[in-house]
């Protein structure tokens, strides 16, 4: 039944990857910027979760408070960064865009170190999910089920948001044709800020959810960003359904890669990214760039 557990773990991984990739894909598809600092928000969320759970001692409320507040705090930070930095580099050459995003990595990285120090933290699983669950003979922590559930819920929520709301229509309009959208008087700036904040919020949720499993550690920013990029590329830049599909694919490649060739599982993941870029750069579900 190792396979069953691997599958469940893969779904957990996929949920978290999806949350990260969806946000990154949104920023790329709408704001047309490669947010190399995306993982930094994830990392901050893991440490914030530690603080919230720590703050309230062993109270079960710590985790829930973190899940509620940390993503929102980060979204606020995100909008601040978007307004002060990203707004100045929209439409600029790729060369000009990269440096500020790398600078944000340095800044947020050291900020994290300033508040939480060098040593990684462990976060206890929320007490509501201490028990194990068994489906078809496979036993797994109920917390895994919670993560998968949240992932699915947010996936649906995003779909609804993008396809069934006014905001979603505006976002899709801007993603498809910037010039026309401005000509039609759509308030670009507001949309960009909300998209960016939403993306950071998603990264925040991913961080909070992942914290009890993977803990909080410095360096997670760089590794998480690159993993998110893999998913975005494979799924197709700017495509949220693509991110979902790719997250499932990558999580499984990793999970079963670890079973088969434990050392080089990640190599397969990056190899897949390279292969997609070489053979089909627009990814599984991405649109052709005009």
């Amino acid at each position: 039944m190792v396979v069953g557990l691997q599958l469940i773990s893969a779904l957990v991984s996929a949920s978290i990857l999806f949350l990260l990739a969806a946000g990154l894909s949104l920023i790329f598809g709408v704001c047309r910027v490669m947010n190399l600092a995306h993982g930094a928000f994830f990392m901050l969320a893991t440490f914030l979760t530690f603080s919230f759970t720590h703050l309230l001692g062993n109270s079960p409320w710590g985790f829930w408070l973190a899940l509620l507040l940390a993503p929102l705090l980060l979204a606020a930070l995100g909008s601040l960064i978007e307004i002060t930095v990203f707004r100045r580099i929209y439409g600029a050459d790729l060369l000009v865009q990269l440096l500020p995003t790398i600078a944000i990595i340095y800044i947020l990285g050291d900020t994290t170190r300033f508040f939480w120090g060098l040593i990684g933290k462990t976060i206890p699983s929320p007490s509501a999910f201490k028990s194990a669950v068994s489906i078809m003979g496979v036993a797994f922590p109920s917390y895994y089920g919670f993560i998968i559930g949240v992932g699915a819920l947010i996936a649906f929520g995003l779909w609804y948001l993008v396809n069934r709301t006014q905001w979603g229509i505006l976002v899709r309009a801007i993603a498809q044709d910037r010039e026309m959208s401005t000509a039609l008087g759509i308030n670009e700036r507001a949309i960009y800020t909300t998209v960016f904040s939403l993306a950071v919020w998603l990264a925040g949720v991913a961080g909070v959810l992942s914290a009890p499993i993977a803990g909080a550690a410095l360096g997670a920013d760089m590794d998480t960003t690159i993993e998110a990029f893999v998913v975005v590329v494979v799924g197709g830049l700017g495509s949220i359904p693509g991110s979902l599909l790719a997250a499932l694919l990558i999580a499984n490649v990793k999970a079963f890669g670890i079973l088969l060739v434990p050392q080089f599982a990640m190599a397969f993941v990056f190899g897949l990214m390279a292969l997609v870029l070489i053979l089909r750069p627009t990814g599984l579900l991405g649109r052709k760039e005009h």
């Binding site: 990269l98 790398i102 050291d110 190599a267 750069p281």
Partner: protein, 315 residues
Amino acid sequence: MSQAGASRSAIIGTIVGLIVLILILVALPVIAPHIVLIDATDTLIFVLLALSLNLLVGYAGMLSLGHAAFFATGGYCAGILVKHLGVAMPLAFVASPLLAALASLIIGFFSVRLSHSYFLMLSLAFGQLLFTVVWKWRDLTGGDDGLTGIMPAPALVAPWAYYYFTLGVVLVCAIILYRIGQSPFGRALKAIKDNPRRSDFVGINVRHYQLAAFVLAGAFAGVAGALQVFFHRGIFPGSAHWITSADTFVAVVLGGAGYFTGPIIGTVVFKTLGFVIPRITEYWLFFLGVAIMIVALVRPKGLMSLWRTGRTKNA
């Protein structure tokens, strides 16, 4: 002052400045404390790495965040040749840029067909792929513990001796890279960056030239890697991580990718901040980040644009 007079005094000024700089660099082991010598050697190695990346970024307009892969290839190849195969340092040192060039030929072959953003992401993919291999292949590379105990030739063991060796190698490479930049090939690269379609229509096969630039850049990064491994007596997986590529990229653009001296200035500033700020506070990356942010937003053309107004081309 007439045009001719002004440019003549500029040339004289540049030459004098260069001579002074070289004199200082040569005299360093005598006039500076030991720690400065170590930092200077380190900085020289990264200057070479940055100059090699600039061939791609500044001249050909190919943005790569995977350049550390070739730096690490050079270093690890030299280290493996010396440690596992008993090759003498001089031979290993000469072999590493060739092996790095081979790696960049293979990676470049697949990469140069892509445009801008996709090329960038593929460079990340290949870079992390190589990092993962280096990190996990413990038998060959020592994995997390790194490849250690790599000694340079006996004559170069003393810090001042290795410093002069590094200075010599980097100077020679810098001159070669300068000449390449000023050559017809360099012009062709700039043309490709300026207008790839028109480049095709004057007879420049864009893909071929991009691949050549990629291989040259990889080779020089390999030299830097070899210098690194014998300097630190070892090399670690971090040298292949995209964080190293990002640092190098920052150094290039901070100084000014459109100028030959840009990467040099950028690396010196980057490294100096890294040596000086930690004396004041341990959160030097924060301040480095802020400094980079300010320069990037205020002077996107880099620090060199403060000195040189007008064109960035043909500097």
